[in-house]
Amino acid sequence: MAIPKIDTSFTPITHNPENILEVNALKKYFPIKDGLLKRTVGYVKAVDGVTFNIKRGITMGLVGESGCGKTTTGRTILRLNDTKTAGQVLFNGQEVYDLSKSELRALRPKMQIIFQDPYSSLSPRMPISEIIGEAVREHNIVPKDEFDDYIEQVMSNCGLMSYHKDRYPHEFSGGQRQRICIARALALNPEFVVCDEPVSALDVSIQAQIINLLQDLQEKYNLTYLFISHDLSVVEHISDTIGVMYLGNLVEYGSKKDIFSNPSHPYTKALFSAIPVPDPTVKMNRIVLEGSIPSPANPPSGCKFHTRCKNCMEICKSVAPEQKEIESGHFVCCHLYDDVKSVSENG
């Protein structure tokens, strides 16, 4: 069986100094190996051509169902997966995947990640000061004699007490563990933090504490967040721009106002109408999506959403839609907007 060739072509973009991160046509495929010789028989197209950029000091929210490639996008941007399949990731104008090992190491403190599950992302055998301090020491963030004070200061910034230093992760509740994860990421003075579902494993009241903490820290240190979550109400609260992903594609992307007041892609509309509103007087006009998300190893042809879309047209089944700017800064990938003149084309 012939393996379909991967299309790695893309138009390179130029760096805009306003943006801290520019992602252009990023693809990440995972090979499926089978047979006696473990030959590659196909690819899981986890991220399949994602383009967006993040301005300095803002929060970009990335939403979508599980399995749509949100987390892989976050990890690929940070080069936590060894390779990318195609596309560009420019961090401060520098292609992340062109860096040598030592250059990448120098860049690491600048970009950090907070993982989803605070229960499994902390080593159970390390005391808190070591969890937070390990990378600080590795990267020589502070001189040796200031090390202890520095760790204490980072901890207090994140709402941890100095006597927590010698404790182990199992002695902490979920909310406090997430604070430790945040402290670990921020101890390196990063510019850019990927928050991969930081509050999904937490209770509502603890969620609020952590979200407030993230916002306070952002203000204090002028951080840029890529906030990955499937909880739309949380994303709506924290983000300035929002990207909606479906099966490896960014189907809609724009400012929070654009996306929430004028959701344009049929998937975004369905996603928004599915959120339960904690107010019994509001009766939502719900669009219930039939079926479930198709397999990313064998995605539908044309527009990947056409199997579940109620506005599906003939063209959707064969031709994949291009990203179109329907308002300034509001991009949609849908054939419904083929007639709409792109803002940039209008001049």
Binding site: E65, D203, A208, L232, I275, P276, V277, V288
Partner: protein, 384 residues
Amino acid sequence: MSNKSKNKDSNYLSAKESRRITKENRKITRKYEKEISRKNVPESEYATTMRDPQNILEIDDLHTYFFTDQGTVKSVDGVSFDIPRGKTVGVVGESGCGKSVTSLSIMRLLQRPIGQIVGGEIRLNLGDKAIDIAKTPMVEVQNIRGNEISMIFQEPMTTLNPVFRIGTQVDETIKLHNPDMDKEAVKKRSIEMLELVGIANSEGVYDMYPHELSGGMRQRVVIAMALACEPKLIIADEPTTALDVTIQAQILDLFRQLKDRINSSIMLITHDLGVIAEMADYVVVMYAGRIVEKGTLDDIFLHPAHPYTIGLMNSKPSINKTVDRLYSIPGKVPNPIEMPDYCYFRDRCEMCVEKCNGEYPPLHKISDTHYVSCYRFDEEGGKE
């Protein structure tokens, strides 16, 4: 900081102390276990009458304790509420507040011997008679599970056995409760159930293994199993928490349709206030093993009375309202082993009155349907 005071903080127990507790616990639990393992219990011992025949289930002053090696955890400490026929009762609260333990008590699925129902009644309406589940012998409880009450667990991934086909697992439930059905009839019924919960390719799914299905499909299978014997009460313990919003919408839709179709009551346990607002007729808010507020949906959402309920509502970001900063309830839940003797919420409460220093506030009636356990309303109610 000295070692001693630090130890006090973290509830440190010496080995000697722990041994003493373990020994005492064994004495207590043995007494309860003896009670449970009695044979040929006459029906008169657990027969009871319903307060209101319209209710399918009445929980009255339920106490469920866990006798752990660190001390006794009062997971459910005097909980009472009713589930009317054909209605949905939503139970909300943070993790560890006793929501799930309440439902496990109803099903008598507590982890024995450390978990025991130590007091209270759970009255189940069987139509012509009523029984107290808390005192019913296990043999009888077997007949209630599935036939009268069934439960949908939180994780559809772990509820299904990975080594058996879907069909086998659904068949098993049906066969167990209808021993005289033949094989063909059981299979027919299974496929019928799978169709009922909206699985399109039901005959194909019948022969599949759980890992071949997505999360939403698995949850549908679990629901099909729960509904197989048309129970009068369905306990759904966080049925959609592990699912995506779009799948959650499908499952909630399904619940609504099924409820009308077989006219059963639902006890819906969740921490998502949005789900409650959509599904429930009555709401029970729990905090640290006790009910802090209960009432109809409108009572709770439009006129929340307890500071905890208000805090919970404000701390959830909502699509329709924008706030700069989310409200977060300060502090944390008290240690379940050493509960204070005053209102459990006092230390986190921003609306304390002087009376709050007294003992735990009793449930106070605001209206015919709305009850709250808070002194603030005691005062106001007294003035009126």
